[in-house]
């Protein structure tokens, strides 16, 4: 049973034309000219209950717009959305009773009050039965290590502590779906680890469906088996993280440290990326026999050290984005040619 489904969803905004300068500001009063900005274009996907899905895309790719449509704040210009079997906009308040939201850049805690006061208010807003509330409260306080600061005013918390509290509060009412918008932004490594581990546990034990947007690939690698990638409003990848790595595999990067400065040597099946005289970096193509080439090289020039870098998910995504950008600019230049 799918808990979320989108069917060719498009969202357009009108952007009114703004004139610049002093007189322009008067023109703005009367002008009605606008351009259509398409934030999300013909996106379809569905998510089963209990899945953990990472939503990835550059700034302005349409991630937030999708989350806002799923929480019923925005309505799509065309297409259909079902969340928990309902139209999320029409059943906003009913649906949102079963949804948890964490926006890394916004807080739902009361700045001047102790953390526990916000939790208590949350209990009333979501009408959580007291025994359930107590059970979850104790569990999350323990799992997230919040004993030390639960009675402190939120303004005195560190960012890491605040994020832990934000995540805990959004799960108190046992939501079916948890939306996380950049939950680890600005956190140190230990705080990130703690939050990732907690989210993994919640996803596996409570079967909470997790939708996560982030710029940190590690978040996705560690929490979400499935990945959706958006580019300029379009869904360009929907599948497993592992699969994307294989698909985008660009081979190995090798840094070679020579005993003396050597001229820029060419190696078959590899490309010279960086040349600092003694130290050179090569990008070997996929399926290249790296060791063979290296031993041949070592017989000609004495090598001190060799470092191999496996392409991590960040490299994979970077090359995907670059690839997409290249495609776009090629499209544009083709159009220009066509016009001439």
């Amino acid at each position: 049973m799918d808990i979320i489904s989108l069917q060719s969803v498009t969202k357009e905004y009108k952007q009114y034309k703004r004139y610049q300068g002093f007189w322009g500001s008067f023109r703005n009063l009367v002008t009605q000219e606008y351009t259509i900005h398409r934030a999300v274009e013909d996106v379809s996907f569905s998510i089963a209950k209990g899945e953990a899905v990472g939503l990835l895309g550059q700034n302005g790719a349409g991630k937030s717009t999708i989350i806002k449509m799923l929480t019923g704040i925005l309505v799509p210009t065309s297409g259909h959305i079902l969340v928990r079997g309902n139209n999320p906009h029409k059943k906003r308040r009913e649906n949102n009773r079963h949804i948890g939201v964490v926006f890394g850049q916004r807080s739902q805690l009361w700045w001047d009050l102790p953390v526990i006061d916000s939790f208590d208010l949350h209990r009333h807003i979501y009408k959580i039965p007291l025994p359930l509330y107590k059970e979850n409260f104790d569990k999350y306080v323990e799992l997230l290590g919040m004993e030390t600061f639960i009675s402190q005013p939120v303004r005195q918390l560190s960012l890491g502590q605040r994020m832990r509290a934000e995540i805990a509060i959004s799960l108190l009412h046992e939501p079916d779906i948890l939306f996380l918008d950049e939950p680890t932004i600005g956190l140190d490594i230990l705080a990130k680890d703690r939050i990732r581990e907690f989210l993994r546990t919640i996803n596996q034990e409570k079967k909470v469906t997790i939708i996560l947007t982030t710029h940190d690939m590690k978040d996705i690698e560690e929490i979400c088996p499935r990945l959706l990638i958006l580019n300029k409003g379009k869904l360009v990848y929907d599948g497993e993280v592992k699969h994307l790595k294989d698909q985008q595999d660009v081979g190995k990067r090798v840094t070679i440290e020579f005993a003396d400065a050597v001229p820029p040597v060419t190696i078959p099946e590899a490309q010279l990326m960086k040349d600092e005289g003694k130290r050179k970096q090569y990008q070997f193509s996929r399926d290249a026999s790296v060791f063979e080439h290296l031993s041949k090289l070592a017989s000609r020039y004495p090598i001190v050290d060799v470092k191999m870098h496996e392409n991590d998910i960040e490299d994979v995504i970077r090359s995907l984005y670059q690839h997409l950008d290249d495609e776009d600019s090629r499209d544009l230049s083709e159009k220009k040619v066509a016009r001439i």
């Binding site: 939201v101 916004r106 009050l113 208010l121």
Partner: protein, 262 residues
């Protein structure tokens, strides 16, 4: 319902976090009263105008200054802020009605203002300048009702201004204008009985007189019973009108937000 009550209580506790400010506020109120009363002394001396003398004006000023503490017009500050920062999102993803949330939040702040600002100001004002007792004991209930009406109308006006921010992003000019209108037509600075006939008529057609003049006039026995009930009825009518208009605008604002993204 419990959610909104709980919201009000939290809002009360939050205001308590800033209680250091309270002395400055009470001091400011007393200073403001002192200036007002000095002006009335200079203007009226020991004479009576329209059956109103200096003692009446002292009472009138104390009542109005106290009432202004619990008016809820400034609800627009909160809406403005959450529109500017986008914080309104966090309210919309909750299973709450935003207008009711706003009312509960303001009511909580008001409970605090009532206890820690209004009562001290009233007491100090009465001790320093002298406050006449309520004219007739029969007027206690109508007076209390008129104060409640004042709170609801002030919230309604503030809420309407706040909603207009959804279209214009900023409501500074509108706020400034409405605040000016309230100062003049609520009669809080100059009572309506000193107004020339034309402007009295204008004042009676507007809802602002309920934010100062009406409660004070009932307290001081300056209205006959029929006038009192007429005024209370008109006050209720304004509440219904303002809230109807508010609901309509809120619905339109949500629509606009949903389509245009704010």
């Amino acid at each position: 319902m419990m959610a909104y009550f709980s919201q009000a209580m939290k809002s009360f506790s939050r205001s308590m976090a800033y209680r250091a400010e309270v002395w400055i506020q009470i001091g400011g109120n007393i200073l403001f009263l002192f200036i007002q009363i000095s002006i009335w002394k200079a203007l009226l001396g020991h004479s009576m105008t329209n059956g109103v003398g200096i003692q009446e004006m002292v009472t009138y000023s104390i009542l109005n200054t106290s009432l202004s503490i619990i008016l809820m017009t400034h609800v627009y500050n909160q809406v403005d802020e959450s529109l500017r920062t986008g914080g309104i999102l966090m309210h919309l993803v909750k299973p709450l009605r935003y207008p009711l949330f706003l009312f509960a939040d303001e009511a909580g702040k008001n409970m605090y203002s009532l206890l820690f600002e209004l009562i001290p100001t009233l007491l100090v004002g009465a001790l320093l300048f002298g406050l006449q007792p309520i004219s007739e004991s029969d007027h206690i209930i109508p007076f209390a009702l008129s104060v409640i009406i004042a709170m609801f109308i002030s919230f309604g006006i503030g809420y309407l201004i706040a909603l207009i921010a959804f279209w214009f992003m900023t409501t500074f000019a509108l706020r400034w204008t409405v605040e000016g209108l309230i100062k003049v037509f609520s009669g809080s600075l100059i009572p309506l009985w000193f107004f020339p006939p034309v402007w009295i008529d204008v004042a009676h057609m507007l809802p602002f007189k309920f934010l100062g003049f009406v409660p004070a006039a009932i307290y001081m026995g300056k209205m006959s019973s029929t006038e009192i009930y007429e005024n209370l009825a008109i006050g209720l009518f304004w509440i219904v009108l303002l809230y109807g208009l508010g609901s309509l605008l809120w619905w339109k604002a949500l629509r606009r937000l949903a389509i245009q993204g704010g």
